[in-house]
């Protein structure tokens, strides 16, 4: 059983700040983390390995410092880590990213067949949920997105059954290996890495693959060249002109404030007045 997990290093975007004057992003000093959704993918792959044995390979495409994310995954128990990095990959949109990752996975698979490719549901910076399906299409393997649970794994029959979140319910699907699975948040909880694990991971080898060594056959499909989407403009959301109209609350009893709130809302919007019912007689 061999799983590949695609993890991305992302800025901890809660802490991204926009420069108040120039309106540009201040990236300096923003800490990076493994995309939180990808941790569910790592954990699920490790659980499969715990259960049936085998191996977990983690792959990340990104700048050289994405190595940190891979080491972290190694500390949780991944066996092999590959950093796919090259200037030629910079500026890739989701179509180009999925091409590069799929090429690298195909190269891994040529050495050691891959049964499941795990991805996160989405990233918190790109936020597209497109790279997983993109990888599945390019490798021409079955695509199972928003998976909440692996129900059954039959290695002899090479079959898997999963619960997939769908609109208004859960689909139970069965398919054949190899397949690509994107894991839903909350589907499991990432294990702790002990100090020993971390030391081991710090010494472990992270393979670094460039444009010439990552299995990419057609460089025009990578980076800016391979990206049909182009960002024309980045801007800050427009603030609303007027601020909230404040309902007087100082030195007033809650019941009094509540009564004036209903009055204000009903006066502002007749449709709401109808929802609330008739206004009580004044002074009631």
């Amino acid at each position: 059983m061999h799983s590949v997990v695609c993890i991305k290093q992302v800025p901890d975007s809660a802490q991204i700040r926009v420069h108040p004057v120039t309106n540009t992003i201040m990236r300096q000093g923003v800490p990076t983390i493994i995309n939180p959704y990808d941790l569910y993918a790592v954990e699920e792959a490790l659980r499969v390995k715990d259960k049936v044995g085998g191996k977990v390979t983690v792959i990340s495409m990104g700048p050289p410092m994405a190595e940190q994310a891979l080491r972290k995954a190694l500390s949780f128990g991944a066996d092999r880590a590959i950093l796919v990095t090259d200037r030629a990959f910079a500026g890739s949109d989701t179509l180009a990213t999925s091409y590069v990752l799929a090429s690298a996975i195909a190269k891994v698979a040529a050495e050691e067949p891959v049964d499941i490719v795990f991805c996160g549901k989405q990233t918190i910076d790109g936020d597209t949920a497109q790279v997983g399906p993109g990888i599945a299409r390019r490798l021409d393997i079955q695509q199972l997105t928003y998976v909440a649970k692996l129900e059954r794994l039959d290695l002899d029959k090479r079959e898997i059954a999963v619960q997939r979140r769908a609109e208004g319910g859960v689909q139970v699907l069965s398919t054949k290996l190899p397949c690509m699975i994107t894991m839903l948040e909350g589907s499991n909880e990432i294990r702790f890495a002990t100090m020993d694990d971390m030391f081991r991971a710090a010494r472990a080898n992270v393979e670094v693959w460039g444009a010439d060594t990552s299995g990419v056959e057609d460089k025009t499909q990578c980076g800016l060249k391979g990206s049909p989407t182009v960002v024309k403009k980045v801007f800050a959301p427009k603030p609303r002109e007027e601020k909230a109209e404040m309902i007087e609350s100082r030195d007033k009893a809650p019941a009094e404030i509540a009564a004036s709130t209903i009055e204000v809302l009903a006066a502002a919007d007749p449709a709401l007045a109808a929802e609330f019912g008739p206004r009580p007689p004044a002074g009631a």
């Binding site: 999925s98 597209t128 695509q143 319910g169 909350g186 960002v231 609350s249 809650p254 929802e275 009631a284």
Partner: protein, 363 residues
């Protein structure tokens, strides 16, 4: 690396002139999401947008309907006409009874390749995102996820898709160059619901699926409907009451539920409440939760972070209760009360209950 994406510009030397063979792509299409006989309302919301885009381009609006051969596809097509479709492309086959990536991808890519739309819109639902990612990769075209604004760039006549970036702190506008169709997904409730025009009709074009069940590897074993059907209702509720970290503790969330009950409203909360386990994930409101467009939104003890704001800005009216007069929520709420949510919530519940009973006495 999609994180590099928002920062980059059209590269120099990259021609934005559309290759000759792609100029034949005409028309604005919406994928009509049909599951278990029901059209997801996001599809009609998108029809409203498609109408505006098509008008700017002076082209037709197309609706694509994929589903079983039980009449549901035809019924939905008639409805699509009332929402502005000029032509409906139908692919119907028993294989398409339940959503599966493989046959739906084939159906949609086949009609796109046959009839060549320049723009293709899908709802950013679990189904829409699964399908859009698969189809865009198959067609090797650009796909922009979770757009909050769609417009035609008048100079280039291309689709300008605006979406939040960097965790919602900024917006960016994305174009698809050198590839067609230009694909975008939009989350439910981001666009407003258009008026239907009863009696309006259009042309129907049927396209075969040309696939055997035995050739499809993934099988649907079961479908377990959600017990809590309110999941979907939060996005479509007329009144929503929500709580945030300002409530102090899980035991106080009940105050939000009680006010919601008095108003016949739905309830939800900010993300920290989901992380703390006070409420379930399907009740999270905001960028990574539900987008809502109620007539009235009451936010209690919520600071109004940008990620929360983008999910509620479509509300007709926002009432915020916060003990901090400088809380950012007062920058976009219509009405504000500076005060303690823990005492104001019961008072509001009481007042609304009274209102209702006056109503009953009067009738």
């Amino acid at each position: 690396m999609s994180d590099a994406k928002p920062a980059r510009r059209a590269p120099k030397g990259k021609t934005t002139e559309l290759p000759e063979h792609l100029k034949a792509y005409k028309g604005v299409w919406v994928f009509i999401e049909l599951e278990r006989g029901r059209v997801h309302p996001v599809s009609w919301e998108l029809m409203g947008e498609a109408g505006k885009l098509a008008e700017a381009l002076n082209v037709e609006v197309g609706a694509v309907l994929i589903g079983p051969a039980d009449g549901s596809v035809e019924a939905a097509a008639q409805e699509a006409f009332t929402y502005g479709a000029d032509v409906a492309y139908l692919v119907k086959d028993p294989i398409l009874t339940h959503y599966r990536t493989e046959p739906y991808t084939k159906a949609l890519t086949d009609v796109v390749n046959a009839y060549k739309p320049e723009i293709m819109l899908l709802g950013a639902t679990t189904l829409g995102r699964d399908l859009a990612g698969s189809v865009a990769t198959t067609l090797k075209t650009g796909l922009t996820a979770d757009c909050t604004g769609l417009a035609i760039d008048l100079e280039s006549k291309t689709l300008a898709s605006t979406r939040p970036t960097f965790g919602g702190t900024l917006l960016c506008t994305i174009h698809t160059v050198n590839a067609r169709p230009q694909m975008s997904t939009v989350r439910p409730r981001v666009m407003s619901m258009p008026e239907a025009e009863p009696g309006r009709t259009g042309r129907i074009v049927e396209h075969p699926l040309d696939l055997m069940e035995s050739a499809i590897i993934t099988k649907v074993l079961d479908f377990i409907p959600d017990r809590d059907q309110n999941q979907a209702q939060l996005a479509y509720a007329d009144i929503v009451v929500a709580g945030g970290r300002g409530l102090g503790g899980p035991e106080n969330y009940r105050l939000v539920q009680e006010l919601a009950e008095a108003l016949g409203a739905e309830y939800g909360g900010s993300r920290p409440l989901v992380q703390k386990g006070w409420i379930t994930a399907d009740r999270q409101i905001g960028q990574t939760g539900k987008t809502i467009r109620p007539k009235l939104y009451i936010a209690c003890g919520i600071s109004g972070a940008i990620q929360h704001r983008v999910g509620v800005e479509g509300a007709d009216r926002i009432l915020a209760i916060n003990s901090d007069p400088n809380a950012p929520i007062f920058d976009f709420a219509h009405h504000g009360i500076v005060g303690d949510a823990l005492t104001l919530l019961p008072a509001l519940t009481q007042a609304f209950r009274q209102q209702r009973s006056v109503d009953r006495l009067a009738s």
